[in-house]
Symmetry: C2
Subunit: 219 residues, 2 copies
């Protein structure tokens, strides 16, 4: 549970900072005003900074011997996430090739999602190395689904502004290879991840349901 | 060394974010343009975020058994630092009483400095609990010296903009009790810290020299 809380604290910090005017400049998140809209920019910067510290303080406050390995996994992948976000900002107005977009998604979205899957394995006493690559595929499928929703869903359903990638001329996978081909690619990635989770048997039912939800979600 | 690197990564992240337009809005740091001036705001936000992750990834990448305790100490005090900065932003245009200013300095500046002293003790296999309060006093002395330099030194010497606290109407200790009384208070705090370090003998010579430098520094 401490690892889950720490993971969600890092995830939330990343959303609060990504929504800032200097970054993606979003007014709406989960159907509510973003932190800098509800309060101010200084508060949003500090809330993000505090959530990142809190994640590590909370996780490392555990007497469990696995806490240090989980905190290291989280820190390394939180770093990769920022690297991906920095590349994303750089490439926002450049035309990227398909391989470049996939590589960007691997760090920006894949790393944190993969570390949540690998951390689950570590908590269960399993080898995290086996499921990390599957988590990375799931992260790519998640990002493709996100990019598809940005194109096909409306703002009220999403709870965040829709259509902003196309408006910003962003090189997403759907923008490069089209909606149908992107959906096919996401389904392939999901199937590959599910194949890795298959030998885990019934105790991985929840993991498989979550993996399928990555593509079936409507928001 | 890994702890020192992690500490400095957290310290530097805090400076990069504090200099942002939405925070202290500074153009100059260590005699050079601040990160958001040399690059842009998005870069400064991401550099700070990445440095914080890097601090924990680097420290927890150590095989040393003390790494987890050091990372916990750093995370808890990095969190307190942000709490102090948030209180500082809140109080910027309010008149604070002396006790409130001291309490604010304890979190904003004292916590991180105290954790660097306590971490040194942990690395040496000593009890961190004894020296943490002395580090806190040193942190207060450091902040008072900083506020005095802001009033008495010039921008070229400081390498950062001087006179900004008075211009912002900030409640610093010198603004409340005056320059001479503040200098006296800082010297008392230094003496109290040095008294705690006295029993450590010659192997704490460097620590004592650093403690004295907190007040003797001209920038």
């Amino acid at each position: 549970m401490r690892f889950a809380v720490a993971m969600e604290a890092v995830h939330t910090y990343s959303l609060v900072h990504d929504d800032l005017p200097a970054m993606d400049d979003d007014d709406l998140r989960r159907g509510r005003p973003t932190v800098h809209k509800a309060f101010d920019e200084a508060t949003a910067i500090l809330v993000g900074d505090a959530l990142q510290s809190l994640a590590f303080a909370h996780l490392l406050g555990s007497p469990d011997v696995r806490a240090a390995a989980l905190a290291r996994l989280l820190a390394e992948n939180a770093y990769l996430m920022v690297e991906g976000q920095a590349r994303d900002m750089d490439g926002e107005h450049a035309k990227l090739a398909e391989a470049e977009v996939l590589e960007l998604m691997r760090t920006k979205t894949g790393a944190l999602l993969a570390s949540s899957v690998a951390g689950g394995a570590l908590c269960a006493g399993a080898d995290a190395g086996d499921v990390y690559p599957a988590g990375l595929k799931l992260g790519l499928a998640f990002q493709i689904a996100d990019d598809l929703l940005d194109l096909t869903a409306d703002t009220a359903t999403l709870g965040k502004r829709a259509g902003k990638d196309a408006a910003a001329g962003k090189s997403t996978l759907p923008a490069i290879i089209g909606i149908e081909a992107s959906r096919g690619r996401a389904e392939e990635l999901l199937d590959e991840a599910l194949a890795v989770f298959a030998p885990l048997g019934p105790r991985a039912d929840a993991l498989r349901a979550l993996a399928r939800y990555v593509l079936s979600r409507k928001k």
